[in-house]
Every structure is written in structure tokens, then in C-alpha cells.
């Protein structure tokens, strides 16, 4: 009996580096400008113009190499990748080929084969019987991050991409914005029977959302298995994912001498980065999401889920840590940030950076709860108020009169009113029906508008009833 089918997947991710200028000229790489307004002789590919490498792009690429545990090479080489297409004005793309800036890294269990620097191409739109070309994007600095074929299914691929995106954003190398194409993914997929040799792979191009990556991979695995089970063979080709149909289709065949005739670009000398500079960049790296999540579990006693949810972005992790430190209650801080803060941000579509509730405000709210000054129910109300008004928690407690009653005499008065008003239930309780006690506590909380301190309310009520 033939073995079960298994898929072998590798990903190539293009990430736009967060620079103020393009990789080889001083034009802005900003997204969304009117067509052909961010161009100059260099990125238009005019003869005689010469590329000069952007220092910041190199620094960001080195950061990414270090953040993914790659070996960063003090010397790398730019090469010309030749192909004819109208979005590529020079007739070649400047990229790195046999000597990329970084190799042999990993993100979790997924090995990174290489990271190289290159320039983006322009944008081509088909229109009537011609095509329209916008070269604003041409020359935008990219890193291409290539994995080994270590992924076995669509879920693995999406999980890897999620972590990669986090690392890119933590290091400040890329804004991670998939809608604007800051992150694009190509998926290499092949299938084989368990234990057999690698099958022929196809490459599905330009997947610009995690969802599409997942769907395209699933579809491609199914398609290849179906072809092979029918006795057909897989052609090595480049395919496009069609968002509308959820299928992949052939874009071009890779068989016919798809030879890019790479050679070292004579316009650029070798890229040399001093080892001391690499070390300096390494020292300046922020704490990355994986070690950070591990630290939260170890030092703060958080669950894996909580820890992972809090390190999703650097801003969120920093927010959380500030709350936890000031509140001196890491677990409560985790609950509030994970459940309440994220809910409000999500509902109101606000960024953390512009959120009204500062870490200090939330920390003080937690302290008010921990000291017994306010009850849990009031805390939620105060939190929502803070989110809306941006006022300090103490001010809101004052304004709304939400301070928890911890004065036994005030609670006693309220309890006496409850006992008078619920004579029948009191009778039942005194007759031995203990369950009624819960009801009476509920009435007391209602009477005090939830401000009675719970333990105190219980004690006082029991004392009066058992008298």
C-alpha cells in the first residue's frame, strides 16, 4: 500500500524595509503617492545614472539577519537579475545572489536559508489594449527571507508568517502592513508519499494576506495530489492565486530556460559591514517576541496563551509591562490588557499609541481594586469611563461615588433594610434553608449598588441573620 500523502512547503517573503528613501536613490518609497511622482533618473533606470546604497537599508537588513539567528556576512555582493518586463525599467533587478547578506537562521523550528537585499519593481496595471506603469515603487528596499522546506501544511505556514511578521515589526525593519504590500509571500509547494523523494514543486506568487497564503497552499496541495493520483505529473511552474475562485492557476512555466543570467553588478562594489558594526546592531536589538513571552511565563507566571497574546506587538508588550510594574500585579495587568484594553482598541479601531488610558491610569485602577477601595464590578465601569473620558481613575471614582463601602456600620444599615424588605426569605433561611443566603447577599449588593465589600457584606449579613 502506498504511504500517505505529505506536503513539503517553503516560503519566500518579501518585506519592505522601513527607510525614508529608496535603496539606491533619494526618492521617497512612501505608499500611495500619485503615479510617477517619486522617481528620479536612478529609479527610472536612465542610462548613465549610478546607484548608491542606502546605509539605513543595510542596517535594517542586518537587524533582520540577527533577529532570526542568521549568520550575518561582513561581505556580500549585489548582482543583476535580468528579465524583461515593463515594471523593471533597467531590464534587470539589483538583488543579491550567491553572496547574500545573511544565511542559516531560524524562527522557532523553521530554518531560514537566506536573507538577501534587493530593490522592488514598479507597478503594472493592465488597461484596455495597453498597460500602465507606475514606477514609484521601483527601487523600494526589500529583504527577501527564504525558508528551508520545513513546513508541512497551511497552518504551519501561517504560524511561521505570524512570527516572522512580529520579528520584522519588533526590529523596526518593516511595518508589516499587508494591505499596502509591505509584506508579500511566495509559497513553494510539493507533495510526496511518505518516505519518498521530494516531488516537483510549484511556486505560487504574491500572496498578500495570511488568509490567502493558507488557502492557496491548501488548494495547491489538493490540486497536486489529485493530479498525481490520476497518474499525471506536476510541472515545475509559477502559479498565481486567484482570490475570487480560491484556486491557483499557471502564470508561467519555469522550464524554458528561466535563466536570469545573474552576474555581479559592476555599478556596485562589495557591501562590507564591519564586524564591530554588526555587534553594535546586535546589542541594540530589542527583546524579541519569543524570549519575551518565555520571560512572562517564567517571571510573571502567565499562561502560554496570555504571554503570547501580550507580545504580539512591541507596543502592546511595553504597555503591558508598564502596567504590571506600576500596579505590582502582573497577572491582573495581563487580564486587563488582554481582555479589556484589546477589546476597546478593537471595538473603537484605535491604535495603542493614541489610546486614552495610559499604562499608569490602568495600573492605578488595578491598585484601587487590590486595596479594596473599589469592587470588581465598579472597576469595569471605571475602566469604560476612562476609555471614553480619558480621566484619571481616582477622579471617576469620586465623580461617580463608586468608592467601595468598607465601613461596617454603613453595610449594617443596608443589611437591616434588606432583612426588613425580604421577611419571607429571612424566615426560610432561619428555618434552615441555607441557599437563600446567596439571594440575600445579592439583595444587599443591589441595595449598596455593588459598592459593598464582598467579604464584609457576607459577614455582616450572616451576623444579623444568625442573631
Amino acid at each position: 500500500m502506498p504511504g500517505k500523502w505529505e506536503a513539503v512547503i517553503g516560503l519566500e517573503v518579501h518585506a519592505r524595509l522601513l527607510t525614508s528613501t529608496k535603496i539606491f536613490c533619494g526618492c521617497s518609497p512612501a505608499f500611495g503617492a500619485p503615479p510617477n511622482t517619486h522617481v528620479c533618473p536612478i529609479c527610472l533606470g536612465y542610462p548613465g545614472s549610478l546607484p548608491v546604497l542606502n546605509r539605513k537599508a543595510v542596517e535594517l537588513a542586518v537587524r533582520m539577519g540577527l533577529a532570526t539567528d542568521c549568520e550575518v556576512h561582513p561581505r556580500s555582493v549585489f548582482a543583476r537579475k535580468n528579465y524583461f518586463y515593463p515594471d523593471l525599467p533597467k531590464g534587470y533587478q539589483i538583488s543579491q545572489f550567491d553572496r547574500p547578506i545573511a544565511t542559516n537562521g531560524r524562527i522557532g523550528d523553521v530554518r531560514i536559508r537566506r536573507i538577501h537585499m534587493e530593490e522592488d519593481a514598479g507597478k503594472l496595471m493592465h488597461h484596455g489594449d495597453g498597460s500602465l506603469v507606475d514606477l514609484n515603487r521601483a527601487g523600494t528596499p526589500l529583504v527577501e527571507i527564504v525558508t528551508e522546506p520545513d513546513l508541512a501544511n497551511a497552518d504551519d505556514a501561517v504560524a511561521y508568517l505570524t512570527r516572522l511578521r512580529q520579528v520584522l515589526m519588533y526590529t523596526g525593519a518593516c511595518d508589516g502592513n499587508m494591505e499596502e504590500g509591505s509584506l508579500r509571500c511566495d509559497a513553494n509547494v510539493s507533495v510526496r508519499r511518505e518516505g519518498e523523494e521530494l516531488g516537483t514543486r510549484t511556486e505560487t506568487k504574491n500572496l498578500n494576506s495570511f488568509r490567502y497564503v493558507g488557502r492557496a497552499i491548501e488548494h495547491e496541495i489538493e490540486r497536486q495530489i489529485a493530479v498525481l493520483e490520476r497518474g499525471g505529473k506536476i510541472d515545475q511552474e509559477t502559479r498565481l492565486y486567484d482570490v475570487a475562485t480560491g484556486e491557483t492557476r499557471v502564470m508561467r512555466s519555469k522550464e524554458e530556460a528561466h535563466d536570469y543570467r545573474y552576474f555581479p553588478d559592476p555599478d556596485l562594489l562589495t557591501l562590507d559591514v564591519e564586524p564591530s558594526q554588526i555587534e553594535e546592531i546586535r546589542r541594540a536589538l530589542p527583546e524579541l517576541p519569543a524570549p519575551r513571552a518565555a520571560r512572562y511565563q517564567r517571571d510573571f507566571g502567565l499562561s502560554v496563551k496570555d504571554a503570547e497574546a501580550l507580545v504580539v506587538t512591541k507596543a502592546l508588550a511595553e504597555y503591558y509591562e508598564a502596567v504590571a510594574a506600576e500596579a505590582a500585579n502582573a497577572k491582573a495587568a495581563a487580564n486587563w490588557v488582554r481582555n479589556e484594553v484589546l477589546r476597546v482598541l478593537n471595538e473603537e479601531k484605535v491604535e495603542l499609541e493614541e489610546y486614552r488610558v495610559t499604562p499608569s491610569m490602568l495600573a492605578r485602577l488595578i491598585k484601587l481594586i487590590d486595596s479594596g477601595a473599589i469592587g470588581g464590578k465598579s472597576a469595569k465601569e471605571i475602566f469604560d469611563d476612562m476609555s471614553q473620558s480619558g480621566e484619571a481613575p481616582e477622579t471617576i471614582v469620586e465623580r461617580k461615588g463608586l468608592s467601595q463601602i468598607s465601613d461596617p456600620s454603613a453595610i449594617r444599615e443596608a443589611a437591616e433594610r434588606v432583612i426588613t424588605a425580604n421577611a419571607a426569605q429571612v424566615e426560610q433561611y432561619r428555618g434552615g434553608k441555607q441557599q437563600v443566603f446567596g439571594f440575600l447577599v445579592g439583595q444587599l449588593m443591589k441595595e449598596t449598588r455593588g459598592k459593598a465589600k464582598a467579604e464584609l457584606a457576607n459577614a455582616v449579613l450572616r451576623e444579623l441573620l444568625d442573631r
Partner: protein, 95 residues
């Protein structure tokens, strides 16, 4: 190194150029001549030559924006330019 007619044809295909057989023959001969010159260079004794990192590193530029060229200038050099600022090119094969 000798370039034969088949190799010349392969290179021509990659460069999207078409030649008839006599032209391919001629190109193969010329390319062989060029490569023989490279072979000659290989005979130079370079033992003991040290690459120096400082001398041959590519220069780096600070990440400071510079003004782009005006769109009028861009349009002036384009064979065809649309009103909304795009280059217009013929549709490619398979597009």
C-alpha cells in the same frame, strides 16, 4: 573557451534576439574570440594579491530624501504617457 552555434542560439534566446544560422555562426566565432581574451588574462600571475576591504567597498548614502524629478520631465522622456501620470506600454504576451 569555445562557443558553438547551439550555445550562441541559447544565449540569443535568453536575450530575446533572433538570428539565422549564418549569423549565429558569426556570433559564435566572435564570442569565442572575446572569451579567448579572458583566457589570456587568466594567465596573469595574481598569487600574493590581497583584496583590501577599504578600497573596494561600495560607498553608502545616508537615508536622507532628495527631491524627485517633476512629472513633466518624466513625461517628456516617455514614448507614451497617460493623463493620470502613467507610462503607457504595449500589452505583453500572456498578460
Amino acid at each position: 573557451m569555445k562557443i558553438d552555434r547551439d550555445e550562441a542560439r541559447r544565449i540569443a534566446t535568453l536575450a530575446h534576439l533572433e538570428f539565422d544560422d549564418p549569423a549565429l555562426e558569426r556570433m559564435a566565432g566572435e564570442m569565442t574570440k572575446i572569451l579567448s581574451y579572458i583566457d589570456q588574462l587568466r594567465e596573469v600571475d595574481v598569487a600574493g594579491f590581497q583584496w583590501s576591504a577599504a578600497a573596494d567597498s561600495t560607498p553608502l548614502r545616508d537615508d536622507v530624501p532628495r527631491a524627485p524629478v517633476t512629472r513633466d520631465a518624466v513625461a517628456a522622456n516617455a514614448p507614451a504617457f497617460s493623463d493620470d501620470g502613467h507610462f503607457v506600454v504595449p500589452k505583453g504576451i500572456g498578460d
